[in-house]
Each structure stands twice: as structure tokens, then as C-alpha cells.
């Protein structure tokens, strides 16, 4: 057998084995956010961040958090067993249907985020203010 083909087969077999063992040992993470988690993630990502107001989606996977220092609004969402954050600024697309608020971002790896919030209308108004 050609050496390069053998090398390829070893790599493919190795990847399959490593993924299977990782799955068996650690499973698929499904963490939930709390208000405190979202604020903590932002405090890590943004020096001096202090949470003022937080809105946690009912699925506990996405949150909007306002920075007490400058009024900026941030998005925090669960990805795997980590949290990804984004500052929301002008240009974010908004669509609301009752309690469901959809954000459309100009972000290659995060095009859309959905939140199910009791005060979705308030946050929509706030975010429209940012976009203006």
C-alpha cells in the first residue's frame, strides 16, 4: 500500500477514535447560563465591566447584559461548554414576535441569536436606540 494512503488512513482512523473516546468520556456539553454567569463572562472579556441590567432568555442559553459603566449592551451565549460574548452596536438587525426577540449580526460565525424574554419589547426599544 502506498505510504501516503496509509498515513491518511491512520489519520482518519485516529480522528474517529479520538472523537469517539472524547464523546464517551465527556459527552456533549449542555451548560445553562444564569444572570451571574453571563455577567461573569463579560467581566472576563471586558476589563472593568459591571453588569447593570440582565435579561436571560427562557432557554437559559442566551442573555443580554447592560454595562453599568457606559450603557453598552452585550450579548452572551452558550457555545459548547463555553460562553461567547459580543458587544451590540449600530447595525444589529432586530425582529420581535411577542416575547421572541431575534438579533441579526454582521458576524461571520454568529449571524443570528434568538432570545425568549418577558420584557422583549423593552430590550427591542433599547437596542433600536443603539442602532439609531
Amino acid at each position: 500500500m502506498n505510504g501516503q494512503v496509509l498515513q491518511l488512513l491512520i489519520s482518519v482512523g485516529g480522528i474517529a477514535a479520538m472523537v469517539a473516546i472524547c464523546w464517551a468520556l465527556f459527552g456533549r456539553a449542555s451548560i445553562k447560563l444564569s444572570d451571574a454567569d453571563a455577567a461573569a463572562a463579560l467581566a472576563r472579556d471586558v476589563p472593568g465591566f459591571r453588569a447593570a441590567r440582565t435579561a436571560l432568555s427562557r432557554d437559559a442559553r442566551t442573555a443580554l447584559v447592560e454595562n453599568a459603566r457606559d450603557g453598552a449592551v452585550y450579548l452572551a451565549l452558550v457555545r459548547g461548554d463555553g460562553v461567547v460574548t459580543r458587544k451590540l452596536s449600530r447595525g444589529v438587525g432586530l425582529a420581535r414576535n411577542g416575547d421572541r426577540l431575534e438579533l441579526r449580526l454582521k458576524d461571520f460565525t454568529l449571524r443570528k441569536a434568538e432570545l425568549d424574554l418577558a420584557d422583549a419589547a423593552d430590550w427591542e426599544t433599547k437596542l433600536q436606540g443603539l442602532a439609531a
Binding site: 489519520s11 465527556f26 472579556d45 476589563p47
Partner: protein, 301 residues
């Protein structure tokens, strides 16, 4: 001596060590794995090997183009290999430093830093489109122009890459002081992969940490500030294609939006995060803000 590809030979060891680390982490809790993150890292490594082989001719072609201008023609000997290895490691340091400070190079290198985890699979999360990071070729030139054979340069660089595999782990704490003083270790490289403000743009070394100590980029890992891994503005996807291209897509968008040749040049050659209106963060602005915040905190205390 005859050259061989150290990376190819090391692949079975990589597989065994990743599995061993998973078991170690599972039973000791020293480290973190997540299956989608690990799968992405492994697929990035696989894709990098395939695409790298396809485009290897660009690097070889460039080296052959400048080879006739070499100052000497150095033959194979142990002494030459050792000197070539040390010089290649210094070359790696400067290439790596530039890859964090020049957006064009960062567009490619960012892939390696895009995991929020730090384990042996992260070492395999390698970029796919290095061929687009053309200024990277310039870092190859000095060794070729000194006169080292291309096969020797490839060989020592392979050894360098194999060395760097095992330092991507949280499972090893620290080595004795003399080792930490000279060699790149898991502790030093955790700092390099961290996004904590104090750790940004530090520890670019491949094998010998002495380059960072010499050129002022060394930062010690602090017990009081555990590294948090990833990039400033972590990516929100496990899709390998998106991971491999996100830096390039972002750069292309900025270049298209440039309103002058100066803006175009600064988007391309300025630091990651540079923007005409200063609305985005570079590592320098993050560190400055962090220093201000720390100063204000200590005044308040």
C-alpha cells in the same frame, strides 16, 4: 544523515497522547475537553495537512527561487543541523510574533487560537490557508540565504512543530526552574494562548523560551490569574470551514470597506483590531484599559 518528516512519523504518537490526556483529564479533572471543540480541532489538523501538501509547492518554489543567492552551501552534518535548528527556532519566534501583530498574518494564525480549550487536540488546530499569508514567506528567506539545504530546514522545522505539540496541555503544571528558564513549557505556552489582558501578546517561542526573554515578550504564568483561552471576540462556530476562513473573511470585508490606500494598508499590515475610527480593540488598547482599571482599583483600595 538522511532527512525524514518528523511530523508524519509523530502522528501515531499524537493520537496515543491525545487519548492518554483525555483519560488523565477524565480521572483527575486537570484540564477540559468538549467533543465538538475537539472534533473541530482534529478536523482542522487533518485539513491543514491535506491543503498544506497541495500548496507546498509555493514555499518550495520561493525557496528554490532565492537559493541561488545563498551566501554558502552548507552540507549535512550534526553541527549544521543543530545550528539550523536553533536559527530556525529564532526565525519561528519572529514569524510567530509578526503573526500576532500583523493582521494579514493573523488572519491565518487566528485559527490556531480559536478554541476556548487548551489541550493536546488544540495543538492540532492548524490553519488551512497559510499560502495566503504571503509575508510569512519572508521569514523563510534568511535560512535559505545563509545556505542551509531546504531539506534540512524542513527537517528542523518539523522537529520544532513536534516539540510544540506536547506543551498544549493543562495537565502538566510546571517543570524545575532551570527547564522553565530555557525551554518553552506548558506553563509558558498557556500564557501565550490566554486572552487575559496581562497575557496578551506574550511568549511567542517555539522550543526555547529564551527568545522571549531576550526580546522582551516574556510573561510568567500567575497563580492568581488563571489563563482563559481563545481569542478576543471568541468565534461562535464549530464548523471547520468557518473556523478556517473567519479571519480571512473579516479581513476581506475590512479591505473592501477601506476608504483610502492608507486605510487599506493599515487594515492589512496594522495590528489585529485596528480600525480607522479606533472603535475596535487592539491588544494594546485592551492592555491599556486593563492597566487603567487596575490602577483605579488599587487607588480605591
Amino acid at each position: 544523515m538522511k532527512p525524514f518528516d518528523p511530523v508524519t512519523l509523530a502522528v501515531p504518537a499524537f493520537i496515543v497522547l491525545v487519548i492518554a490526556e483525555m483519560l488523565f483529564v477524565r480521572f483527575t479533572g486537570r484540564g477540559r475537553f468538549e467533543v465538538r471543540d475537539t472534533t473541530t480541532s482534529l478536523l482542522m489538523g487533518f485539513g491543514s495537512t491535506i491543503i498544506g501538501a497541495i500548496f507546498a509547492f509555493v514555499f518550495v518554489g520561493f525557496a528554490r527561487l532565492i537559493q541561488p543567492y545563498a551566501l554558502a552551501h552548507i552540507g549535512w552534518s550534526w553541527e549544521a543541523v543543530v545550528i539550523c535548528f536553533i536559527l530556525d527556532d529564532m526565525r519561528y519566534y519572529w514569524w510567530h510574533r509578526a503573526s500576532h501583530r500583523v493582521r494579514w498574518l493573523w488572519a491565518d494564525h487566528v485559527n490556531h487560537h480559536s478554541s476556548q480549550h487548551y489541550n493536546l487536540s488544540t495543538a492540532l488546530r492548524q490553519p488551512w490557508f497559510g499560502v495566503l499569508a504571503l509575508p510569512g514567506l519572508l521569514f523563510l528567506a534568511p535560512l535559505v540565504l545563509i545556505g542551509f539545504p531546504l531539506e534540512m530546514i524542513a527537517f528542523v522545522h518539523g522537529i520544532n512543530l513536534v516539540y510544540q505539540f506536547w506543551i498544549h496541555t493543562e495537565s502538566i503544571d510546571r517543570f524545575p526552574r532551570w527547564v522553565e528558564a530555557v525551554m518553552n513549557t506548558p506553563s509558558h505556552h498557556r500564557v501565550h494562548h490566554a486572552t487575559n489582558a496581562r497575557y496578551l501578546d506574550a511568549n511567542y517561542a517555539g522550543v526555547f523560551i529564551v527568545w522571549d526573554r531576550m526580546f522582551g515578550s516574556f510573561v510568567e504564568e500567575s497563580k492568581d490569574d488563571a489563563p482563559r483561552y481563545g481569542i478576543v471576540g471568541n468565534i461562535a462556530s464549530f464548523n471547520p470551514l468557518k473556523v478556517a476562513t473567519h479571519g480571512w473573511v473579516a479581513l476581506a470585508k475590512d479591505l473592501v470597506s477601506a476608504k483610502s490606500p492608507k486605510e487599506f494598508a493599515l487594515y492589512l499590515l496594522g495590528p489585529p483590531g485596528w480600525s480607522p475610527d479606533g472603535s475596535r480593540d487592539t491588544s494594546d488598547t485592551i492592555k491599556a484599559r486593563w492597566a487603567e482599571f487596575r490602577a483605579a482599583q488599587s487607588l480605591a483600595e
